[in-house]
């Protein structure tokens, strides 16, 4: 029933070259990936918070491009995107912020984005700018594997990695998804949308070992992780953890003055996942 195409269209050489930078950060350590929404509360602060998190142990940072109707997000990230959009920022402004960050830090950066803002901007122009500003990859929640042809020609041309999402409902699809994964696999911990959860009930260990049988690409777990204990638990099985809504909550609470809180939070999580 799955008419997933064979992965023969992907050149392994290109894959290795592209993935290099992202995959490298997983060497000999448990990785911490954090998320924030560009422009919440302002683009200046986004730059500032990326640097604060990078300096305190975030190994890779996911920058969310705000979208009016983010169907895979829970309330926390929806609200952050609404706040960002009220600032009237556009993609060119976000690329400028990335350029500013690049002047001060080499922390690997990826975009989390819905397709329509990119489609509207133009894929060629978007991915060229990603390459020019040092964005390594994209996470696109409304683009499953079957629709990757939408952007694949451009990500290949400009050496940008498409991060593969695997969900608890992926089941036999894992076989195809894991084999073609580049950079890292984003393992969705729970059903539903993004947001802090008090309990994660999926058996992450089982899915991680299933993925590991199929690929050497590292696996990071995200969705619902907020506390140090949850992060530690997830990092036992996976190569890294992804924290989004918990970071966005801190920014929502402390607004322009979140840098210290973010630094404390990130270094606490980073410390605990290493042990």
């Amino acid at each position: 029933m799955n008419n997933i195409r064979s992965s023969s269209v992907f050149s392994p050489f290109d894959g290795e070259k592209k993935s290099g930078n992202i995959t490298e950060i997983f060497k000999n350590k448990k990785v911490l990936i954090t998320y924030l929404t560009a422009g919440d509360p302002s683009l200046d602060k986004t730059e500032n918070y990326i640097l604060a998190m990078a300096e305190n142990g975030a190994d890779l940072i996911e920058i969310g491009i705000p979208f009016s109707d983010p169907v895979a997000e829970g309330k926390t990230i929806q609200d952050a995107m609404t706040r960002a959009l009220s600032k009237k920022i556009d993609l060119d402004d976000i690329f400028n912020a990335v350029v500013n960050v690049r002047k001060k830090s080499n922390v690997p950066l990826v975009f989390m984005t819905y397709l329509n803002p990119l489609f509207s901007y133009g894929y060629e122009k978007f991915f060229k700018k990603c390459a020019d500003t040092g964005i390594k990859g994209v996470i696109v929640p409304d683009m499953p594997f079957e629709e990757q042809d939408e952007i694949k020609a451009f990500t290949d041309k400009f050496g940008i990695v498409i991060i593969t999402l695997i969900a608890p409902t992926s089941k036999e699809r894992i076989n195809t998804l894991a084999r073609q994964a580049e950079g890292f696999v984003y393992l969705v911990s729970s059903l539903g949308v993004t947001g802090v959860r008090s309990r994660i009930t999926t058996n992450i260990g089982n899915i991680v070992s299933e993925i590991k049988k199929l690929t050497d690409t590292p696996v990071a777990v995200g969705f619902g992780i907020s506390t140090a204990e949850q992060a530690k638990e997830m990092a036992k099985d996976a190569d890294g953890v992804i924290i989004g809504s918990a970071v966005v909550k801190i920014i929502a609470e402390y607004k322009e003055n979140a840098a210290t809180k973010l630094a404390e939070y990130v270094s606490e999580i980073k410390k605990i996942i290493q042990n």
Partner: protein, 396 residues
């Protein structure tokens, strides 16, 4: 052939989160298995005929015809269906499908409340749990339908995100589906969303054009000159068009909600004002900002107040097989009153958009030409709002 799966020209596709991919694949497999299954079709036909009251009448509107003085006007009376609109055609099909798939719980979005009422009805009939998502603004302008759904045993969730209208109700239903994908079936109400929904909904609604063709053949021994229907997502219109797509001589016209006019921002006319984009699981035309943010749209009609259009309509527009025209609030309200006074039929404000366009073109057409207008629903739900629009106080 996955590249071609669910595509209508360049439109359609499955732009949804990975969490939902197996669910849509499972749905597609179940549908393909059951759509040609004798027992399934027998049960569905029973429900449509004995419960929903099909076939619906194709009524010759003599008063309207005389008053307009041109083409003969026939009305396809989907307003006479049980629950008061065409929505029941699709809902009975999907809820029966859900039951056969072993699902326990039904969720659905609704704009005007017609799809929500139909879904709550079918869920009750077939013994399933039911939750409806409806934009907060729509729960206010269609309060009567909220209570109807509750009477039918459904839980109604008022959606407070975004613009608090139909698009947000769809987003919230999708989010809920991804939370409880195992036992929950999402009954999508229009020919939109990810494949296979545009196809499933179209198939279940195509009974409208199948009947129009047979009934008009019987009454007039000809095909209609023109078929007119309103378009939001486009389910009653695709239903009214589908069996005529191959009959090139039949003109197909979809009426979009222009709101306060297509030269204002308060409009929902997607073909007139939208651009190609990707949203709610499909590639199609959407009202959007220059930065690709989905635009807030407006129409007096909650059922047409949606920033996109189904992918098959987008395709019919591209190949010029169907024509899409904008109709304003004022024009729709005028047609609402005209049909009520002339023929004694109060149409849904959605359907009144189609009635307006028939009023506009009929006088210019020959007397032997035949226009079929799809009256997709009845107007009881709109009476209070029309009174308010006209500044009449009907507080009881």
């Amino acid at each position: 052939m996955s590249e071609l799966k669910g595509k209508f020209g360049i439109h359609g596709g499955q732009y949804i989160p990975e969490t939902l991919m197996n669910a849509v694949n499972e749905l597609e497999m179940a549908y393909n298995l059951l759509k040609n299954d004798g027992q399934f079709n027998k049960e569905l036909a029973f429900l449509l005929n004995e419960y929903a009251g099909r076939p619906s009448e194709l009524y010759y509107a003599e008063n309207v015809t005389k008053k307009l003085g041109g083409a003969k006007i026939y009305l396809k009376r989907e307003d006479l269906n049980h629950t008061g609109s065409h929505k029941i055609n699709n809902v009975l099909g999907q809820v029966l499908l859900a039951k056969k798939m072993g699902k326990k719980r039904i969720i659905a979005e609704t704009g005007a409340g017609q799809h929500g009422v139909a879904t709550a009805t079918a869920a009750t009939l077939l013994g399933m749990e039911c939750e409806i998502f409806m934009g907060e603004e729509d729960t206010e302008r269609q309060a009567l339908n909220v209570f109807r759904m509750q009477l039918l045993g459904a839980k109604v969730n008022s959606v407070k995100s975004g613009t608090k209208t139909l698009k947000d109700a769809v987003s919230e239903a999708m989010r809920e589906w991804s939370r409880r994908v195992d036992d929950t079936f999402y009954v999508l109400g229009s020919v939109m969303g990810p494949h296979p929904y545009p196809q499933i909904v179209r198939d279940f609604q195509s009974v409208i054009s199948k009947e129009i063709k047979e009934q008009l053949m019987e009454k007039e021994s000809v095909l209609p000159s023109t078929v007119i229907a309103c378009v939001g997502g486009g389910s009653n219109s695709i239903g009214a068009f589908y069996n005529f797509i191959g009959d090139k001589e039949v003109e197909l016209i979809g009426c979009e909600a222009a709101g306060k006019g297509i030269d204002t921002f308060e409009t929902a006319a997607t073909i007139a004002k939208g651009r190609l984009g990707i949203f709610h699981g499909m590639k199609s035309y959407f009202c959007q900002t220059e930065n690709g943010q989905i635009a807030p749209v407006y129409s007096i009609s909650a059922g047409l107040d949606y920033p996109g259009i189904g992918p098959e309509h987008a395709y019919l527009h591209d190949i010029k097989r169907a024509q899409y025209v904008p109709v304003t609030d004022d024009e729709a309200v005028g047609a609402f009153e005209f049909l009520s006074r002339t023929e004694g039929i109060i149409p849904a404000i959605e359907s009144a958009h189609a009635v307006h366009y028939a009023m506009k073109i009929a006088p210019e057409m020959k007397k032997d030409a035949i226009i079929v207008v799809c009256i997709s629903g009845r107007g009881d739900k709109d009476v209070a709002m029309i009174a308010k629009y006209k500044g009449v106080n009907i507080n009881e």
